[in-house]
């Protein structure tokens, strides 16, 4: 038999596999595609279920009234079925929406400058040997579970910072939404705890992005006589700004969705406080604390699920904006993950490059 060259026998090449031996290939490819499609189906179901469950609240109360009315009143709960008609209980989630936005805003104002400063210091100023340990220490904050932040914030921070909060309230009393009596747990305290919680992710992404600044840019700035700080201001920060913004937005998304820690340190009052040093509530917090008692009251339950949907949409929008920024910064390209390795070349340490690259995602 002349088998030296591929010959055709029965319509197929001898080098070609039989249909049976190709079966595992087909199965693997098809199976993996099904699993991947499962993710899409899961998220689709996710959205449909949330919308369906909260629709009764939205249709009963109205989307605008639900979101922007300051009247979350459940004091009549358990006094007959009156709560469910919406006559005795009212569900306007503005206090919670405000609480979520306000605490997340405070978290950004406090957390982002600190995180970026730490990132700049670690990548540009500190001795090379201290880089990895310092990064690890900042990242360690992400390993602390949110319930532990809640425990710490509630038992330690709230009483200890009462004086500081009062001092802040008195000293800067000319600011709007600022002066007045200070509660222990408050919007401000929740914002502070959130600032600590978003610190590692914002800092890690900023570090990643700053590490991608071309060495040539930095050397050029230094060669032109710039001091270290001028080099950072003129070469590093402008180049890294979109990525840092994206990191801050991811932090914002994290802060908006954070539940347990906020539930403890924001105070739990479902009315709008008079200043940022008063008690309030957040969307996630109200779900965590009130969902248990809402089981037998459909409108109440639906209102809380509507809070979940609002939260979902809010984080979705914030994360998509964040994604667009981070993509622009070149970290997550749609050309695939191989691009990561290129960026890591200069900053590589002992760990595998892929591992350092994925860390911000896993924090």
């Amino acid at each position: 038999v002349e088998a030296s060259a591929p010959t055709v026998s029965g319509g197929r090449s001898v080098l070609e596999r039989s249909p049976l031996s190709r079966l595992p290939d087909t199965v693997l490819k098809f199976g993996l595609a099904v699993i991947a499609a499962g993710v899409l189906i899961l998220l689709g179901a996710f959205f449909v279920v949330l919308v369906a469950q909260s629709s009764s609240a939205f249709s009963h109360i109205g989307v605008f009234n639900y979101l922007f009315h300051n009247n979350w009143d459940i004091s009549q709960l358990g006094q007959g079925a009156a709560c469910d008609t919406g006559h005795h209980c009212t569900f306007g989630a503005w206090p919670m929406l405000l609480g979520t936005l306000l605490t997340a805003g405070i978290a950004l104002v406090i957390g982002v400058p600190v995180a970026v400063a730490a990132a700049l210091f670690i990548t540009e100023l500190c001795p090379r040997r201290a880089r990895a340990p310092l990064s690890m220490l900042v990242d360690l904050l992400a390993a602390v579970p949110s319930v532990v932040y809640g425990l710490w914030g509630f038992i330690v921070l709230a009483p200890k910072l009462r004086g500081t909060q009062q001092w802040l309230a008195d000293t800067f009393s000319f600011l709007p939404f600022w002066a007045g009596h200070v509660a222990g747990p408050s919007y401000f305290l929740a914002g502070l705890v959130l600032a600590i919680m978003i610190l590692p992710i914002v800092s890690a992404i900023s570090r990643e992005v700053i590490a991608t600044v071309p060495v040539e840019h930095k050397e050029a700035a230094l060669a032109l006589g710039a001091t270290r700080w001028e080099m950072m201001r003129m070469a590093v920060i402008p180049y890294a700004r979109p990525g840092i913004t994206g990191g801050a937005m991811l932090g914002l998304g994290r802060a908006i969705g954070e539940t347990i820690a906020v539930a403890y340190v924001i105070g739990g009052s479902t009315t709008v406080g008079h200043s940022i040093f008063q008690q309030g509530q957040s969307l996630a917090g109200v779900i965590a604390l009130q969902f248990g008692e809402a089981q037998s009251t459909p409108l109440y339950k639906s209102s809380l699920l509507a809070a979940g949907l609002t939260l979902f949409v809010l984080t979705l929008v914030v994360n998509l904006i964040a994604r667009s920024y981070v993509v622009r910064a070149g970290r997550i390209g749609d050309k695939g993950p191989g691009r990561f390795s290129r960026f890591r070349r200069s900053g590589g340490g002992a760990a595998a490059p892929g591992i350092t690259a994925i860390e911000p995602e896993t924090l």
Partner: protein
């Protein structure tokens, strides 16, 4: 004359610029210090308050609330009672996180394999990537609500029971596993795949014998970090695992976990419960740190450089 100017081509840095430089360096260093303060404080309180709660008794008894309640306001405080330890919470956390990982890790690696080996830059693959990103940002409490509606309200296999909490935790871990696995699988050199294909290996053998073994330690690291992330979550478990204090190995029963134990202890009136919460918190953080440490050790053994 000309030579002396060319040897110092730049004018000296003015005192003002020098001062700004010094100041900003100090500001950045201070910022780093400020970033580390909370870590030090949290660890300090965890150890100072948590260590005193730890004892053999703490790890070998279950939380016991029946003896201590009801606490009548106004009446003299009830005699000190034995509120028990956190044995059932530790076991519950391990079981629920274990089942969650069992669900999330193979699925996540499967999705990542599809993306790197088959989907690549196809529209469908990009859509999957996009929605995995979306899933990463979903607040954990919303996962809890979803599982509550779909699994608990429908009474599939009981009310709020442990495996439903594990499903919620798995949904939280899944996007993390996918993203980290995709990065690691993408680092496997194409030349390895091509070499295997050129030797006549079918695609599935390339995946199982070349791609996965090469990426193994990276996959382990990513998965362990995802598990560590899921271990500390309270919000997805609040409405899904049922409130139980008894020790059970049955995932079809309501179960106790460390995060939910801390959560409920914080709502209790006496300091005894706060002490137990600190002890439980220390235990939880220790478990998560060990997972992180193992993940990093696995990363160090990585074959991909």
């Amino acid at each position: 004359m000309a030579t002396s100017t060319s040897s110092t081509p730049l004018p000296p840095i003015s005192p003002r610029r020098r001062r700004t430089d010094k100041l900003m360096r100090a500001v950045l260093a201070t910022g780093t210090g400020v970033a580390l303060v909370p870590l030090v404080l949290i660890l300090f309180y965890l150890f100072s308050k948590g260590l005193s709660a730890l004892s053999v008794h703490f790890f070998t008894t279950d939380p016991n609330t029946s003896q201590c309640f009801p606490h009548v306001p106004g009446a003299p405080p009830p005699p000190p009672c034995n509120i028990g330890g956190i044995r059932s919470a530790i076991l519950g956390t391990i079981e629920i996180i274990g089942l969650g990982a069992l669900l999330a890790v193979p699925t996540g690696i499967g999705v990542a394999l599809y993306l790197t080996e088959y989907g690549k830059a196809a529209p469908f693959a990009n859509a999957v990537r996009y929605f995995v990103d979306v899933m990463t940002g979903v607040p954990s409490i919303v996962f809890g609500l979803f599982v509550y509606i779909v699994l608990v309200v429908s009474h599939v296999g009981g009310d709020a029971v442990a495996w439903k909490g594990a499903v919620a935790v798995a949904m939280l871990m899944l996007p993390i596993v996918v993203r980290s696995s995709e990065v690691v699988l993408g680092l496997v050199p194409d030349s390895l795949r091509e070499a295997a294909l050129a030797l006549g290996a079918p695609r599935w053998r390339v995946v199982t014998r070349v791609v996965l073994p090469t990426a193994r330690s990276g996959l382990i690291t990513g998965s362990l970090l995802a598990v560590a992330r899921g271990a500390g979550e309270t919000a997805p478990l609040l409405f899904t695992i049922g409130a139980a204090h008894v020790l059970t190995g049955d995932l079809g029963q309501p179960m106790n976990t460390l995060p939910t134990q801390i959560f409920s202890d914080l709502g209790q009136p006496t300091s005894q419960f706060a002490d137990r919460a600190w002890g439980a918190a220390l235990t939880l953080v220790a478990m998560i740190l060990i997972l992180n440490l193992v993940a990093r050790l696995a990363a160090r053994r990585s074959r991909l450089a």
